[in-house]
Subunit: 546 residues, 2 copies
């Protein structure tokens, strides 16, 4: 297999990428949430506590027989790199050299048939299987839990990276699950197409991961969520295969695709996905807009969406997030300063920044942008021009690198997200913010809580929260759990969904009975028991333990 950039076990992204905070931001954070007395760097790989591999010899032989010796590894580097995803607790634990769990081995099957054979071998041997795409889960989705089994392997899909088919008439492509976002885009771009799916994790997340977690990207207001773009799927479960060919629509009973999409590896492994693609845009125009309040901005976006005039990218920061992005951008130069000066002149510094982005042909962008801008202006928006759009574009995948930098300084940074109806948006925004502030203030670490809307639907929108707080050294996980629990309880009590695009994993599983009801949980368990009777598939994820 081709060599690809591997993320460091303790953090995000390309190891060579700089991860430093602007001086101004460090000073500001020292004043507001507080920093650690001294830097808190991650441990070296050799210092990570690594239990013996528990993989039984028979299973090891069987797996090597399926995938080949070169594609079964039990060494430290492979096992630690598959010990966790990239959630805040994952990083806290790995930076300290104390992973919660470690895979007993990593297997790289070479195709759909080998995936099926790996599942058969593991079912036979009683070994749990964690499907592993980009390893970017922020909700514990790839935590190597063995459940009731003697051992657990990570099943890495990195070798399933084919573009199996591309149909220019139907604008569809069949893609391998192991393709990372940029790899898939490069294959499609060579033929003039795009998937249009750009989550913040885009540089490392995979097609299989998108589908398994019901992902949404930054441009999903325009291109649609991944679930809206899955036309067919090939799927290997321990009891057999399900192959749903691409179909534009069907009334043939419950939609099985929607049972596989979002199944998070708990039922089986996605071995190929037939996805809607779109012509690669000739032009992308991202620009900034300013609103006097979050409520005003949300109403403007709602009207745009309901008039079928929404841009491809639509994002609205609340007042707190607007202030912080101004601060971070402020380190960067003249354009942000010009924006601030303009807003000050309009006596409206304490408002909200929105990003609106249009993609398509030159003509489409011109036409749709004219219509959108007219509506935004009529709804109270002030155009800030292209500079804030360019700043957003430059930083669109940078968040996780900043997190590493903040962790070096002893600052907790975490995100969570939900969606609700427009009529409930502001109440939920307030309730979740309050829950986070209360839970962390009571522990002596008052947070900075920010939020944005980033996905529009006719009936509602997503809310994406980010918070910063000083880490409680030695009690980082308890501190995180207190904040997370308070926020999730507030989301459920406030009528939101427990997750809009991060998925369930281990972290949200306790809330699933409230999300879909006890009988809904039973229905999913019934499917699980039929497709995976020995319970080897990704134990402990999606549904709470019985």
């Amino acid at each position: 297999m081709a060599e690809r950039t591997q993320m460091p076990f303790w953090g995000w992204g390309d190891p060579a990428h700089p991860r430093e905070l602007p001086e101004l931001a460090v000073a500001q954070l020292r004043e507001t949430v507080g920093l650690a007395a001294r830097a808190r760097p991650p441990v070296a790989l050799d210092a990570v506590r690594l239990p013996e591999s528990r993989l039984p010899d028979a299973a090891r032989s069987a797996l090597a027989g399926v995938a080949g010796d070169a594609h079964l590894r039990v060494d430290r580097a492979a096992r630690v790199l598959h010990a966790a995803g990239k959630s805040y607790p994952d990083l806290v634990r790995l930076r300290a050299g104390e992973p919660a769990h470690v895979a007993d081995a990593v297997v790289w099957p070479g195709g759909a048939d080998e995936v099926a054979a790996v599942l058969a071998a593991c079912a036979e041997a009683g070994v749990a299987v964690v499907p592993f795409g980009g390893g970017t889960s922020v909700v514990g989705g790839v935590e190597p839990l063995a459940g009731d089994h003697a051992a657990v392997i990570a099943l890495d899909l990195a070798r399933l990276r084919a573009l199996h088919a591309l149909d220019e008439v139907d604008e569809t492509a069949v893609l391998g699950p192991g393709l990372r976002g940029p790899e898939a885009e490069a294959l499609l771009a060579a033929r003039g197409y795009t998937l249009g799916h750009f989550p913040q994790s885009y540089e490392f997340a995979t097609i299989g991961g998108y589908v398994a977690t019901r992902s949404a990207g930054q441009a999903s207001t325009g291109y649609g969520r991944i679930d809206e773009n899955v036309l067919g799927v090939r799927f290997a479960a321990p009891t057999g295969e399900i192959d749903l060919p691409p179909r534009p629509a069907s009334a043939a009973g419950p939609d099985l695709r929607e049972l596989i999409v979002g199944s998070e590896g708990t039922l089986g492994v996605i071995t190929a996905a037939a996805l809607q693609i779109a012509p690669r845009p000739e032009r992308a125009r991202y620009e900034g807009w300013f609103f006097r309040s979050f409520a005003e901005g949300a109403q403007a976006l709602r009207r745009l969406e309901q008039a079928d005039a929404a841009p491809t990218v639509a994002r609205l920061s609340d007042e707190a997030e607007t202030r912080l992005s101004m601060l971070l951008a402020g380190a960067g130069g003249a354009t942000a300063k010009a924006g601030r000066a303009y807003l000050r002149a309009r006596r409206a510094l304490d408002g909200c920044l929105a990003i609106a982005g249009w993609e398509g042909t030159e003509r489409e962008v011109a036409r749709r942008r004219a219509r959108g801008a007219f509506a935004l202006r009529r709804a109270g928006g002030v155009a800030l021009g292209a500079a804030p759009g360019r700043a957003w574009e430059r930083g669109r995948y940078a968040g996780p690198y900043l997190r590493d930098a903040l962790l070096d300084h002893g600052v907790m940074v975490e995100t969570l997200e939900t969606a609700t109806t427009w009529s409930n948006l502001e109440a939920l925004h307030v309730a979740v913010g309050d829950a986070l502030r209360d839970a962390l203030t009571v522990r002596g670490t008052p947070p900075l809580v920010m939020c944005h809307v980033s996905h529009l639907y006719r009936s509602g929108a997503s809310l994406y929260f980010t918070w910063l707080a000083r880490q409680q050294e030695g009690a980082e996980i308890a501190q995180w759990r207190a904040a997370k629990t308070a926020a999730c309880d507030a989301i459920m009590a406030g009528g939101g969904t427990i997750t809009h695009h991060h998925a369930v994993g281990t972290d949200h599983a306790p809330w699933m009975p409230r999300e879909i009801g006890p009988l809904g949980v039973e229905a999913l368990r019934a499917v699980k028991e039929r497709l995976d009777p020995s319970g080897i598939m990704n134990p402990g994820k999606l549904l709470p333990e019985t």
Copy 2:
């Protein structure tokens, strides 16, 4: 409950509605497919063979206790009206007074709690339950099969007709399942909204039926299929309730809504649905377009859809359907004649008629129509003006009345539908047409087969076939089954879905293992066994018998 128009047991719609064929059509049919030697009218209600009700006394008392004596009926009229849906074989049997099965009783629960109590009583008594909305199924979806049980009741949802909520900010409404299309539209119209869902069965089909069968309407290219508009659902199964509140989007695992939508009463009963609504259009403009061939027209519609420029209503008849609609319209007067003259002048009479309809505000219609018309013209379309659009609008719900008239003349008329990708559309169009022609010609009843595209998706479209043939008297069902089987086999072999919007019922159940694979069937069975362990819910529908 308020009195509503009841359909005749032997046919469609308002009994007072005329159902006669134009003289010209009768003459044409006599020449082409042939007519019966003498008229074949339906029998009177009293002549319908009616078995004794098998409902056990204990169950009868329990059900009367739940719904009240007035809402449990075992009389002839109630039982025969719930003996079948409105498929061709249903009508053949009922017109002859020989229903295949008859419900042992009909129960009208008064609300969601009573529905749950009816299910509990039936589970206790071992009585099968067939949820019954409009009774318009054309695939055997409401056939009162008892399965392994001693008796079967029809659970008529006519009393669940509330508009529970309407949110003008979110553009959502929560509707009772028993509301017929026009009833729901009237409630929404009073507040300025529409559901935008207009299947041919609109006048009698219900909200619950739409959702349970994954319905699509004539304007679904614009407003979306019902599955795209279900935001939440309240659902009673024999083992309990699932209540999914309206959520714009979620990544919380598999989408349970998509398991309930399309479940066709086999898992439980939809007791309320939260649906996306839209502002009632100020303006609707339907017009005719002409293409030299079906392939040319399909390509034009594909380009429109993929450029996000599709009209609200888009329909393209093939050459055979175009000829027949010209003929039927020809009975009607000058406008159609003018159209024919125009087309003849362009030497293109043997082409295809398309209907394009735009709905919205005056401005939206003007803007979208200008864009659509430009694209249609560029793709080879010739504008025929509003007259063909008006003719389509007048006849949009008339098809089932014509069927009754054709049956009087001994003419079989049946429809079936599928969907496939654009690149496969023409091959499937030919294959299904050939299969129908072969299967019926070999029986000595060569058919007239017509087809249209009526729902556009970015990756493909629906194909809706209608065929006419002389009935084989005394072997009507065998004749139908031969044609239906040939067409369904051709659909599956040709890469279509077994149904685009008619649903599965009994008629398509044998093809479900090919549609979703044996393991897909097992997954659905597992859910069924968990939600309905005694198997009382709508036996024999959706999945083949084991």
